[in-house]
């Protein structure tokens, strides 16, 4: 992102830009960000803080809340594994091979972001229900997906597919073919080239994409609630518990649990930024 010429005006006193509109554009930006983004998040924190530490802790560490955190984390974990494996396969095939329909498949990778989550939710539920196209054969194998934790993971994986594909694709594209060629000329097999040469180079991108996907899974609501069944202690994700507290008009409890989700999202953001920094450092020196 830091593409603007470094230190172009860095001598002595700061030089005034010849371009107009700084204070106006800056004022709009700061005012907008403050009013639209920061103030509501502050209002949430303020309301949760109004509970006092004891009540806050009692709410966010209640058994139903803890069960929902554990389910959300576990389901997001498995969803991330699925989306990382699928994303790696898709990035690999799309970058390295040419086949009919490649452009279409490439565009389809963005579909989970383009498709409204409620549509994805009811479509996946219909697909994986006991009598559904995929649910029926799976039920014959003794696996039930809809209204179970497996279903939660499947829905989370669907909505987070593009993260891994789109993070790994550019790194695979930039890989230097000569390194691979050298490994091959020294007698490495296909698998050895992949495991020893290519995989280490794309690992930071895989981790960055995977953590973006994981963060999305933790906060997802619309894609999940239709397929989840939403049984407390079993298939109730944290986002839904917040919604239920709102419907009970228990606003302080909703605010408290929402603050936990917000704080964990900010922690994930920190992790993601670190991983993306690594990814960039890994990818750039070659150019």
């Amino acid at each position: 992102m830091n593409a603007s010429a470094p230190a172009r005006q860095g001598t002595g006193a700061r030089q005034r830009s010849v371009l107009p509109g700084f204070s106006l554009a800056m004022g709009i930006t700061l005012g907008y960000v403050g009013l639209v983004v920061l103030l509501p998040l502050a209002a949430l924190s303020w309301r949760a803080a109004g509970l006092g530490l004891d009540d806050f802790w009692r709410i966010v560490s209640g058994p139903r809340a803890v069960a929902s955190y554990l389910l959300t984390l576990r389901a997001a974990f498995f969803a991330t594994i699925l989306t990382v494996l699928y994303g790696l396969l898709m990035a690999w095939v799309l970058v390295r091979y040419r086949f009919p329909g490649r452009r279409l498949v490439d565009a389809a990778m963005d579909l989970p972001f383009a498709l409204p989550t409620a549509v994805a939710g009811i479509a996946l539920t219909a697909l994986y229900a006991k009598n559904g196209w995929l649910g029926q054969p799976l039920a014959d194998l003794g696996i039930s997906v809809a209204y179970t934790q497996v279903g939660v993971s499947i829905a989370m994986a669907f909505v987070s597919v593009p993260f891994v594909v789109r993070t790994v694709q550019p790194v695979l594209e930039d890989l230097d073919p000569e390194v691979e060629e050298a490994a091959r000329s020294l007698g490495a097999t296909d698998w050895q080239v992949f495991a020893r040469v290519i995989l280490p180079a794309i690992t930071p991108a895989l981790m960055a994409g995977g953590s973006l996907a994981f963060a999305r899974c933790l906060g997802e609501f619309g894609g999940v609630i239709f397929i989840a069944g939403n049984l407390p202690f079993k298939t109730e994700i944290t986002a839904l518990l917040i919604f239920i507290r709102l419907e009970e008009y228990d606003y302080p409890a909703a605010a408290a649990i929402a603050l936990v989700v917000l704080a964990s999202a900010l922690a994930m953001l920190l992790v993601i930024n670190t991983l993306q920094g690594l990814n960039r450092r890994w990818a750039e020196p070659r150019s």
Binding site: A25, T29, A118, A265
Partner: protein, 285 residues
């Protein structure tokens, strides 16, 4: 092999074919089938039932409200995106990276948390909400609240597409225009925006898609009143819980078509950007 070396031509043909086959099969299962089943379920009871479901007054109202929300949120965030990208790309000031992180923050906030935050800010129990109510204005559980929270959720899309591009393009062209006597808006209109128009459109398409499809945040601040405060995604949930499966999927076909048109537009714009601006859009968001 050496002269004709191309990456990806080196694996054994069998491995290559198997990987392509696996990728296509998994994509058909994971991404193709959910789209197909939307239409299958919507037409399960025939075209007449489908058409009747779509022209139901509550469904039509939900469509119109959804379009109104997007028609407000998208232009507002285009204006914000231009202002933010202009500020950050064309000037130097301290804490720039922090400002960028804050602009992108809504991408990391769960939609439910976004909705609850707006409820805590503008709901009747908050000081601001109480003050507004005393003046006869209520925002929550009204279309206005839906618009506000949609603006939050979609605020980074345009800025995030414009910013890296405008930073990469530098300031020389704008500075030249300024030295030649062009005023601010003329520089923006004649120099900056023509250089970034495809990225701007790309961001606007993403913004519109999200504004039309947003569910979690909107469901918190909507009163879920049929024919009044239901957007199309919310209306799908209502129909679905009424066991009106055809109705729910009929409404879903409309949103799916929007999504497919949006994807087509994204693909075309990405090709233009690659050709003209030499870079890909950000993709993941």
């Amino acid at each position: 092999m050496t002269a004709l070396y191309r990456p990806g031509r080196s694996e054994s043909p069998l491995a290559r074919r198997m990987l392509i086959g696996l990728a296509l099969a998994m994509t058909a299962l994971m991404i193709g089938l959910p789209v197909v089943i939307v239409f299958e379920q919507a037409f399960a009871k025939g075209v007449a039932v489908y058409a009747a479901s779509l022209t139901n007054p509550d469904t039509l109202h939900a469509m119109i409200l959804t379009l109104i929300v997007a028609a407000v949120a998208v232009p507002v965030n285009i204006a914000f995106g231009i202002a933010a990208a202009w500020t950050i790309a064309k000037f130097d000031f301290p804490l720039k990276r922090l400002l960028v992180s804050i602009i992108e923050l809504p991408f990391s906030v769960s939609p439910i948390v976004a909705g609850v935050s707006y409820l805590m800010m503008y709901g009747g129990q908050s000081p601001i909400g109480a003050w507004l109510e005393a003046h006869g204005i209520s925002l929550m559980f009204q279309p206005a609240g839906i618009v506000l929270v949609t603006i939050f959720v979609t605020s980074p899309f345009v800025a995030r597409e414009l910013l890296p591009l405008m930073e990469a393009q530098g300031r020389e062209e704008e500075e030249a225009a300024a030295v030649l006597g062009a005023r601010g808006l003329a520089i923006l209109w004649r120099v900056t925006l023509p250089n970034v128009r495809w990225a701007l459109l790309y961001g606007a398409v993403l913004c519109a898609a999200r504004a039309i499809g947003e569910f979690g945040a909107v469901s918190v601040v909507s009163g879920n009143v049929r024919g009044e405060t239901n957007t199309l995604p919310l209306h799908i949930e209502v129909l679905y819980h009424d066991y009106n499966v055809v109705g729910a999927f009929a409404a879903a076909t409309v949103l799916t078509l929007f999504a497919l048109v949006g994807l087509l537009a994204q693909t075309i714009l990405a090709m233009r950007m690659e050709a003209r601006e030499g870079r890909n859009p950000t993709g993941a968001h």
